[in-house]
Protein backbone atom coordinates (compact mmCIF):
# COMPACT_ATOMS: atom_id res chain seq x y z
CA UNK A 1 0.00 0.00 0.00
CA UNK A 2 1.09 3.53 -0.68
CA UNK A 3 1.39 6.24 1.94
CA UNK A 4 1.77 9.97 1.50
CA UNK A 5 3.13 12.17 4.26
CA UNK A 6 2.96 15.93 4.56
CA UNK A 7 4.97 16.88 7.60
CA UNK A 8 3.94 20.55 7.76
CA UNK A 9 0.43 20.96 9.15
CA UNK A 10 0.58 24.73 8.66
CA UNK A 11 2.75 27.22 6.79
CA UNK A 12 2.60 30.96 6.33
CA UNK A 13 4.23 33.32 3.87
CA UNK A 14 4.20 37.01 3.04
CA UNK A 15 2.61 38.14 -0.18
CA UNK A 16 5.08 38.12 -3.12
CA UNK A 17 7.49 35.76 -1.35
CA UNK A 18 8.27 32.13 -2.11
CA UNK A 19 7.19 29.13 -0.06
CA UNK A 20 7.89 25.42 -0.37
CA UNK A 21 5.54 22.69 0.82
CA UNK A 22 6.97 19.26 1.55
CA UNK A 23 5.66 15.84 0.63
CA UNK A 24 7.17 12.38 0.90
CA UNK A 25 5.66 9.10 -0.15
CA UNK A 26 6.30 5.42 0.22
CA UNK A 27 5.72 2.94 -2.58
CA UNK A 28 7.25 -0.12 -4.18
CA UNK A 29 5.87 0.89 -7.56
CA UNK A 30 8.10 2.24 -10.31
CA UNK A 31 5.42 3.86 -12.44
CA UNK A 32 3.06 6.34 -10.91
CA UNK A 33 1.81 9.91 -10.92
CA UNK A 34 2.05 12.58 -8.27
CA UNK A 35 -0.27 15.54 -7.86
CA UNK A 36 -0.74 18.65 -5.82
CA UNK A 37 -4.32 19.74 -5.18
CA UNK A 38 -5.45 23.01 -3.65
CA UNK A 39 -8.56 23.32 -1.48
CA UNK A 40 -9.52 26.94 -0.70
CA UNK A 41 -12.16 27.82 1.90
CA UNK A 42 -14.82 27.22 -0.75
CA UNK A 43 -13.80 23.50 -0.35
CA UNK A 44 -13.50 22.98 -4.10
CA UNK A 45 -10.57 20.64 -4.88
CA UNK A 46 -8.46 22.17 -7.63
CA UNK A 47 -5.63 20.41 -9.46
CA UNK A 48 -2.49 22.54 -9.23
CA UNK A 49 0.20 20.45 -10.88
CA UNK A 50 0.98 16.89 -11.99
CA UNK A 51 4.20 14.91 -12.33
CA UNK A 52 4.77 11.61 -14.12
CA UNK A 53 7.33 9.46 -12.31
CA UNK A 54 9.04 8.44 -15.54
CA UNK A 55 9.86 12.06 -16.36
CA UNK A 56 13.03 13.46 -14.87
CA UNK A 57 12.09 17.04 -15.68
CA UNK A 58 10.23 18.82 -12.91
CA UNK A 59 6.74 20.01 -13.80
CA UNK A 60 5.93 23.72 -13.77
CA UNK A 61 2.66 25.63 -14.06
CA UNK A 62 3.12 29.38 -14.01
CA UNK A 63 4.07 30.28 -10.40
CA UNK A 64 3.92 26.66 -9.26
CA UNK A 65 6.76 24.19 -9.67
CA UNK A 66 7.77 20.92 -8.12
CA UNK A 67 11.02 19.36 -6.99
CA UNK A 68 10.63 15.66 -7.73
CA UNK A 69 13.32 13.42 -6.23
CA UNK A 70 12.34 9.87 -7.18
CA UNK A 71 15.11 8.09 -5.30
CA UNK A 72 14.32 10.02 -2.14
CA UNK A 73 10.55 9.67 -2.76
CA UNK A 74 10.12 13.36 -2.27
CA UNK A 75 7.76 15.70 -4.11
CA UNK A 76 7.78 19.29 -2.88
CA UNK A 77 5.72 22.19 -4.23
CA UNK A 78 7.22 25.66 -4.65
CA UNK A 79 4.94 28.64 -4.95
CA UNK A 80 6.66 31.76 -6.23
CA UNK A 81 5.35 35.32 -5.91
CA UNK A 82 2.70 34.18 -3.42
CA UNK A 83 -0.71 35.80 -3.73
CA UNK A 84 -3.54 36.18 -1.25
CA UNK A 85 -5.61 33.81 -3.39
CA UNK A 86 -3.08 31.06 -2.74
CA UNK A 87 -4.37 30.77 0.82
CA UNK A 88 -5.75 27.23 1.00
CA UNK A 89 -5.17 23.68 2.16
CA UNK A 90 -2.73 21.90 -0.15
CA UNK A 91 -2.81 18.14 -0.63
CA UNK A 92 -0.14 15.96 -2.11
CA UNK A 93 -1.51 12.82 -3.80
CA UNK A 94 -0.21 9.59 -5.36
CA UNK A 95 -1.70 7.48 -8.13
CA UNK A 96 -0.37 4.11 -9.24
CA UNK A 97 -0.02 3.39 -12.96
CA UNK A 98 -0.76 -0.12 -14.15
CA UNK A 99 1.27 -2.18 -16.60
CA UNK A 100 -1.00 -1.26 -19.49
CA UNK A 101 -0.19 2.41 -19.12
CA UNK A 102 -3.56 3.47 -17.78
CA UNK A 103 -4.03 4.38 -14.19
CA UNK A 104 -5.73 2.54 -11.40
CA UNK A 105 -7.48 5.81 -10.71
CA UNK A 106 -7.22 5.70 -6.96
CA UNK A 107 -5.69 8.80 -5.41
CA UNK A 108 -3.96 8.42 -2.06
CA UNK A 109 -3.79 11.77 -0.29
CA UNK A 110 -1.55 13.21 2.36
CA UNK A 111 -3.06 14.91 5.40
CA UNK A 112 -2.68 18.36 3.90
CA UNK A 113 -0.83 21.60 4.69
CA UNK A 114 -2.73 24.78 5.48
CA UNK A 115 -1.01 27.68 3.74
CA UNK A 116 -1.80 31.25 4.76
CA UNK A 117 -0.56 34.14 2.66
CA UNK A 118 -0.30 37.39 4.63
CA UNK A 119 -0.56 40.84 3.02
Amino acid sequence: AQTVTQSQPEMSVQEAETVTLSCTYDTSENNYYLFWYKQPPSRQMILVIRQEAYKQQNATENRFSVNFQKAAKSFSLKISDSQLGDTAMYFCAFMKQNAGGTSYGKLTFGQGTILTVHP
Binding site: S42, R43, G101, T102, K106, L107, G110
Partner: protein
Protein backbone atom coordinates in the same frame (compact mmCIF):
# COMPACT_ATOMS: atom_id res chain seq x y z
CA UNK B 1 -16.65 25.35 -18.90
CA UNK B 2 -17.16 21.64 -18.14
CA UNK B 3 -17.37 20.76 -14.48
CA UNK B 4 -18.54 18.04 -12.12
CA UNK B 5 -21.78 18.92 -10.35
CA UNK B 6 -23.02 17.54 -7.05
CA UNK B 7 -26.30 17.84 -5.21
CA UNK B 8 -27.17 18.74 -2.55
CA UNK B 9 -24.39 21.09 -1.51
CA UNK B 10 -25.30 20.71 2.15
CA UNK B 11 -27.49 18.17 3.90
CA UNK B 12 -28.53 17.95 7.54
CA UNK B 13 -30.40 14.84 8.58
CA UNK B 14 -31.27 12.84 11.63
CA UNK B 15 -29.67 9.58 12.54
CA UNK B 16 -31.41 6.64 10.91
CA UNK B 17 -32.59 8.55 7.85
CA UNK B 18 -31.65 7.64 4.28
CA UNK B 19 -29.34 10.04 2.48
CA UNK B 20 -28.80 10.17 -1.28
CA UNK B 21 -26.05 12.24 -2.85
CA UNK B 22 -25.91 12.78 -6.60
CA UNK B 23 -23.12 13.53 -9.00
CA UNK B 24 -23.06 14.47 -12.66
CA UNK B 25 -19.61 13.76 -14.13
CA UNK B 26 -18.08 15.79 -16.92
CA UNK B 27 -19.55 14.74 -20.27
CA UNK B 28 -17.26 12.20 -21.92
CA UNK B 29 -15.51 11.13 -18.73
CA UNK B 30 -15.75 7.39 -18.12
CA UNK B 31 -14.35 7.12 -14.60
CA UNK B 32 -16.18 8.34 -11.50
CA UNK B 33 -14.85 8.42 -7.96
CA UNK B 34 -16.43 8.99 -4.55
CA UNK B 35 -14.19 10.38 -1.78
CA UNK B 36 -14.95 11.26 1.80
CA UNK B 37 -13.17 14.00 3.72
CA UNK B 38 -13.10 14.17 7.51
CA UNK B 39 -10.83 15.93 9.95
CA UNK B 40 -9.64 12.65 11.45
CA UNK B 41 -9.19 10.52 8.32
CA UNK B 42 -8.50 13.17 5.72
CA UNK B 43 -9.48 12.29 2.15
CA UNK B 44 -10.22 8.65 1.48
CA UNK B 45 -11.57 6.81 -1.55
CA UNK B 46 -14.92 5.11 -1.03
CA UNK B 47 -15.64 3.69 -4.48
CA UNK B 48 -14.95 4.12 -8.14
CA UNK B 49 -16.48 3.23 -11.46
CA UNK B 50 -15.15 2.78 -14.95
CA UNK B 51 -17.66 2.77 -17.81
CA UNK B 52 -20.39 2.62 -15.15
CA UNK B 53 -19.07 -0.66 -13.70
CA UNK B 54 -17.90 -0.63 -10.08
CA UNK B 55 -14.18 -1.40 -9.93
CA UNK B 56 -13.31 -0.79 -6.33
CA UNK B 57 -15.60 -0.18 -3.38
CA UNK B 58 -13.32 -1.56 -0.71
CA UNK B 59 -13.29 1.75 1.14
CA UNK B 60 -17.02 1.78 1.63
CA UNK B 61 -18.89 0.34 4.63
CA UNK B 62 -20.97 -2.25 2.80
CA UNK B 63 -23.71 -2.60 5.36
CA UNK B 64 -24.99 0.94 4.98
CA UNK B 65 -23.40 2.50 1.93
CA UNK B 66 -24.16 1.83 -1.70
CA UNK B 67 -22.91 3.46 -4.89
CA UNK B 68 -24.42 3.16 -8.34
CA UNK B 69 -24.29 4.65 -11.82
CA UNK B 70 -27.77 4.34 -13.32
CA UNK B 71 -26.45 5.96 -16.49
CA UNK B 72 -23.35 7.71 -17.78
CA UNK B 73 -24.54 11.11 -16.58
CA UNK B 74 -25.47 10.21 -13.01
CA UNK B 75 -23.69 8.63 -10.06
CA UNK B 76 -25.34 8.18 -6.68
CA UNK B 77 -24.08 7.47 -3.19
CA UNK B 78 -26.63 6.31 -0.64
CA UNK B 79 -26.36 5.86 3.09
CA UNK B 80 -29.09 3.90 4.84
CA UNK B 81 -29.39 4.21 7.77
CA UNK B 82 -27.20 7.26 8.39
CA UNK B 83 -25.17 7.63 11.59
CA UNK B 84 -23.44 10.63 13.21
CA UNK B 85 -20.03 9.19 12.26
CA UNK B 86 -21.01 9.57 8.59
CA UNK B 87 -20.81 13.35 8.96
CA UNK B 88 -18.24 14.48 6.41
CA UNK B 89 -17.80 16.16 3.05
CA UNK B 90 -18.39 13.73 0.19
CA UNK B 91 -16.68 14.50 -3.09
CA UNK B 92 -17.36 13.11 -6.51
CA UNK B 93 -14.63 13.29 -9.14
CA UNK B 94 -14.49 12.23 -12.77
CA UNK B 95 -11.70 11.42 -15.18
CA UNK B 96 -11.05 10.22 -18.70
CA UNK B 97 -9.52 6.89 -17.73
CA UNK B 98 -6.50 7.60 -19.87
CA UNK B 99 -2.83 7.31 -19.05
CA UNK B 100 -2.59 10.32 -16.79
CA UNK B 101 -6.20 10.24 -15.61
CA UNK B 102 -6.43 13.64 -14.02
CA UNK B 103 -9.43 13.78 -11.77
CA UNK B 104 -11.75 16.75 -11.64
CA UNK B 105 -13.63 17.23 -8.42
CA UNK B 106 -17.13 18.46 -7.77
CA UNK B 107 -17.87 21.01 -5.03
CA UNK B 108 -18.73 18.30 -2.52
CA UNK B 109 -21.76 17.57 -0.34
CA UNK B 110 -21.37 18.47 3.33
CA UNK B 111 -23.38 15.91 5.29
CA UNK B 112 -24.27 16.45 8.93
CA UNK B 113 -26.02 13.63 10.76
CA UNK B 114 -27.48 14.62 14.14
Amino acid sequence: DARVTQTPRDKVTEMGQEVTMRCQPILGHNTVFWYRQTMMQGLELLAYFRNRAPLDDSGMPKDRFSAEMPDATLATLKIQPSEPRDSAVYFCASGTGTRSDEQYFGPGTRLTVT
